[in-house]
């Protein structure tokens, strides 16, 4: 009898674990979509989910764990996208003896040049993989550079001031990309050699798998990082800067590191996005899509909880695609008035932000308060110290 009870309670404990519940929700929603809509829809959702998960996880590292008001996420994403759009293709063109200078990004040259590069990549899987990894490395380096640059004001400015400065500089970088042709072709876009062509069959599925694997690796990396001593230091800086400094932590260095790591990861997200779409266009990197939406995802999931971020990104990605899918069935009345239901995406995001702020300030999966040591170990330390007479109880 007692054995049965133990098993039941253990089973209950397992089933009520947050990870299990969230996986169940995700699997159930995906199955529903798979049955009703078929494979292509699922693949689009996967891509959106994976790329935004990367960007939002990096945002969570900076906002949730370090307490920096990062309203310029688009900066790092754009740095990655521009880096992946401008540099690897040029390097390849230079090696092959094709024009690679400022003219590489000109619309008339670029659109003839890139298919030649893609044709080379198509023949060899080794070159393709090297190219992909090179793209991601370049993006990560650009992102880390931008992260270092943003860390300079981040040391001086507080909260909202910092947020607004970063937001403004995100816009500035977008306009530079939009006007300076040698970077990513200004108003036209720079095409990117496609490293996924070597696989016979559907390119799309390979892209999905690659992006998903990378997203998983990044989740794993960030999760390990935030549970390491470094992660605890980050939380310490977030909770009380002065006490962290008093404990001998170099606050400036820690913030700089967090910004560099986060920005590098976000840049990888941006690079994957432009490789997936095949072209880098500066005007597409608006602060709405790449700063505010990740913020909404993160706030819904729970600031400071990696698992929550995944759930938030997933739910909102699904909801967004639901609006697109069911726009004729559910929102037919809007179409009758001549209104495009895709604008409901903005309403949805705004409503989510407001509801979360008002009623769910900790998100769907609140951050777990984790003691540095288990309670019994703390007790032991206290008894040890009091027996030595250092600690009066």
């Amino acid at each position: 009898m007692s054995d049965d009870k133990q098993i039941v309670s253990r089973l209950k404990g397992f089933l009520l674990r947050r990870e299990v519940i969230i996986t169940a929700v995700i699997v159930a929603l995906l199955t529903f979509l798979l049955i009703t809509r078929g494979v292509p829809m699922i693949l689009t959702i996967f891509i959106d989910f994976a790329i935004f998960a990367i960007v939002t996880l990096s945002l969570n590292l900076e906002v949730g764990y370090t307490g920096i008001s990062q309203f310029g996420r688009v900066l790092a994403v754009m740095a990655g996208a521009f880096g992946a759009g401008a540099i690897p293709g040029r390097v390849m063109a230079a090696i092959m003896g094709l024009p690679w200078g400022a003219s590489y990004a000109e619309a008339t040259v670029n659109f003839k040049l890139v298919p030649q590069l893609t044709a080379v990549l198509e023949k060899s899987w080794f070159l393709s993989i090297v190219f992909l990894i090179f793209c991601l490395l370049v993006a990560a380096l650009c992102g880390a550079g931008i992260g270092w640059l943003t860390s300079r004001p981040a040391i001086r400015l507080k909260e909202a001031y910092l947020g607004i400065s970063l937001l403004a500089f995100g816009d500035l970088l977008m306009w530079i990309g939009h006007n300076w042709e040698p970077l990513v072709g200004a108003t036209t876009s720079v095409y990117i050699p496609d490293p996924f062509r070597f696989v016979p069959g559907n390119r799309f599925q390979v892209v999905v798998i690659t992006v998903f694997v990378i997203a998983f690796l990044i989740y794993f990396f960030i999760n390990t990082l935030t549970h390491s001593p470094f992660g605890r230091t980050l939380k310490m800086v977030r909770d009380n800067e002065i006490s962290a400094a008093a404990a001998g932590k170099d606050v400036v260095k820690i913030r700089t590191r967090s910004l560099m790591i986060g920005s590098a990861i976000a840049a990888i997200g941006g690079a994957l996005y432009v490789i997936y779409t095949g072209a880098a266009t500066a005007i597409g990197f608006t602060r709405l899509t790449w700063t505010f939406w990740p913020w909404a995802f993160m706030m819904l999931g729970g600031i400071g909880s990696n698992l929550g971020v995944l759930l938030g990104v997933f739910l909102l990605t699904i909801l967004r695609s639901m609006i697109t899918i069911f726009r004729f069935q559910v929102f037919g009345f809007l179409i009758q008035w001549g209104i495009d239901p895709t604008w409901l995406e903005f309403t949805l995001m705004g409503a989510v932000i407001i509801v979360v702020v008002l009623f769910l300030p900790h998100g769907l999966v609140p951050e777990k308060v984790e003691p540095v040591l288990p309670a019994d170990r703390v007790q032991k330390v206290i008894t040890n110290m009091s027996s030595r007479g250092r600690f009066l109880t």
Partner: protein, 312 residues
């Protein structure tokens, strides 16, 4: 008058109104109002709709823009800001909440544009408001009327804050909320009025801004960094600083682009938004308390050799 100066004056007065609104909301409720972006756009569309459906000069409908913006501000206060202020939410939370409100307003504006396009065969997504403008002394009336309007509004605000009882109470709440509360001032009503005036100023500014630029549904969204830049240049702690900062940012953008493009060529036009941002960056780095934080009296005192104020 040179076209850059004419447009620059209109744009600068628009930014003065919006940046003043942002500063007013920040000093009263600690909220950086993102919704200023869409409130400004709403102001423009109110004026546009009145012109389309009733006709006449745009200036006749500016009071309606103010009223509409004030309504939006009050809704934002009672729906969003008040519960959060009661909970003593952080600055970032307050900022995010207005962002949500802004996104909803933006979607409503876009839907309204769709509605106008398909039902009335209009083109509300690219509007040149100058088309409806009058002519005064051989130039566009907007060049004269809008800066005048900004000055009148701001003087009215100044009189309101200085001469009326409620205005003085408001000033007291801005200076020291705790003491003001202790002396019996209802801070709730002060905040409500701040949102009312702030929202109204945002819409008025947006309606004015559309006279200098092409009016689009994302007009406010694109110019919100400049509004913030103006508020930050003003130092964020003084209403008059914010107004002056907005005016300077707006004029500096037009003047700077004009001068630089004469020297370097027209390619510089694409980077025009760098000028206000540079101003903002310099402000933040060199004198983080903004224009209002510079001890002007002290400086002038040193220049003229007279001693003014108390030296710390």
């Amino acid at each position: 008058m040179a076209p850059w100066l004419a447009n620059g004056l209109i744009y600068a007065s628009a930014l003065a109104l919006t940046a003043g609104g942002i500063t007013l909301l920040y000093i009263t409720t600690r909220t950086f109002n993102f919704a200023h972006a869409s409130m400004a756009t709403v102001g423009f569309y109110v004026v546009y709709s009145f012109i389309i459906f009733i006709g006449g000069s745009p200036y006749r409908y500016f009071p309606f823009a103010f009223l509409f913006g004030a309504l939006l501000g009050v809704i934002c206060y009672y729906g969003l800001n008040r519960p959060l202020l009661k909970r003593q939410a952080s600055e970032i939370t307050l900022m995010m909440s207005t962002l949500g409100y802004d996104l909803i307003l933006l979607s409503l504006i876009q839907m309204y544009c769709d509605f106008l396009t398909s039902n009335y065969k209009l083109f509300p997504r690219r509007v040149n408001m100058n088309m409806y403008d009058l002519e005064l002394f051989g130039i566009n009336a907007a060049t004269i009327i809008l800066p005048l309007m900004a000055i009148i509004c701001l003087s009215a605000l100044h009189l309101f804050l200085g001469k009326t009882k409620f205005g003085v109470a408001m000033k007291a709440t801005i200076e020291n909320p705790v003491l003001a509360g202790a002396s019996g001032i209802n801070s709730d009503r002060v905040y409500m009025v701040a949102w009312l005036i702030g929202g109204g100023m945002a819409s008025l500014g947006g309606a004015a801004m559309a006279m200098a630029q092409t009016g689009t549904p994302v007009m406010g969204m694109n110019s919100i960094p400049f509004m913030f830049a103006g508020a930050i240049l003003g130092g964020l702690h003084s209403l008059y600083g914010g107004i002056l900062g907005g005016f300077m940012v707006g004029l500096a953008e037009y003047a700077g682009v004009f001068l630089l493009s004469q020297k370097f060529g027209p390619w510089i036009l694409g980077y025009r938004m760098g000028i206000p941002l540079l101003l903002m960056a310099i402000t933040l780095l060199i004198f983080p308390r903004g224009l209002a934080g510079i001890p002007w009296a002290d400086l002038f005192g040193r220049l003229t050799g007279k001693k003014r104020g108390v030296q710390a």
